[in-house]
Amino acid sequence: MATASSGGRLDGGALSRATAVRTGVRRRAKIEFDVLTDLHLRVAEAFGLAFTLPPDLKELYAAFGDALDKFHDEPDFRLPMPARYVVDQDRRIRAADVNPDYTVRPEPEDTVAVVRRLQAAGSKAARHEEGRR
């Protein structure tokens, strides 16, 4: 499993701060998979997830202090839509949950069920392949 978040500057102190946040999130949430940094949203763009915040929300977030333009090195205040994808070994997307409302997230159990199905199908195919040899 992998998680991609936006941001993290490569120069100066912001990267170490961003990395510290990621390490902290990982420890607190007791997650064992990698937390990846998608600097400048390149992968989010490739999945079609990147968007620019409207001006009034930029202002609001800027008022919170440590704004995402500096922290993520995103002068245009861009973010990815939250999304979860399950990708099969042939790179085909088998499940996709994308929601413009960041307060709605898919249930982890549903994602795990898709992975289990793919794993079962994969080992069945492997056994079939072995039987043909």
């Binding site: 499993m1 992998a2 998680t3 991609a4 978040s5 936006s6 941001g7 961003a18 990395t19 946040v21 990621r22 998979f33 990698d34 937390v35 990846l36 940094t37 998608d38 992968v43 989010a44 999945f47 079609g48 997830l49 968007f51 915040l53 409207p54 009034d56 929300l57 609001l60 977030y61 704004a67 995402l68 500096k70 922290f71 990815p80 839509m81 939250p82 979860r84 994808y85 399950v86 990708v87 099969d88 070994q89 790179r91 085909r92 997307i93 088998r94 996709a96 929601n99 413009p100 960041y102 307060t103 709605v104 997230r105 982890p108 994602t111 898709v114 992975v115 793919l118 794993q119 994969g122």
Partner: protein, 87 residues
């Protein structure tokens, strides 16, 4: 409780303006408007979907090591979650 029920409970507390967040009404309205605009933009419908080919990627992990999607996929199906991070 499902994840979404927990998120909904948090959202209800946050949007009530109660401590410790003390979110002002106008801030919540701005957030709602932005979400509604994003929904109306149709961006989510244009994102990659089931049946599409996932782009290959190389990204650094929490230890600064390069992680390649091809290496992950060689081990089995891959789950990738995009979250907005912190700032």
């Amino acid at each position: 409780m499902t994840l979404q029920q927990r998120l909904d409970a948090f959202k209800a507390t946050f949007e009530s303006g109660a401590p410790p967040y003390n979110a002002p009404c106008e801030a919540i309205e701005t957030m709602h408007r932005a979400t509604e605009d994003l929904r109306r933009s149709g961006l989510a419908e244009r994102a990659l979907k089931v049946g599409d080919l996932a782009p290959a990627f190389e990204l650094t992990n929490q230890d600064g090591e390069l992680v390649r999607s091809a290496d992950l996929l060689a081990r089995g199906p891959m789950v990738i979650t995009f979250f907005r991070g912190h700032w």
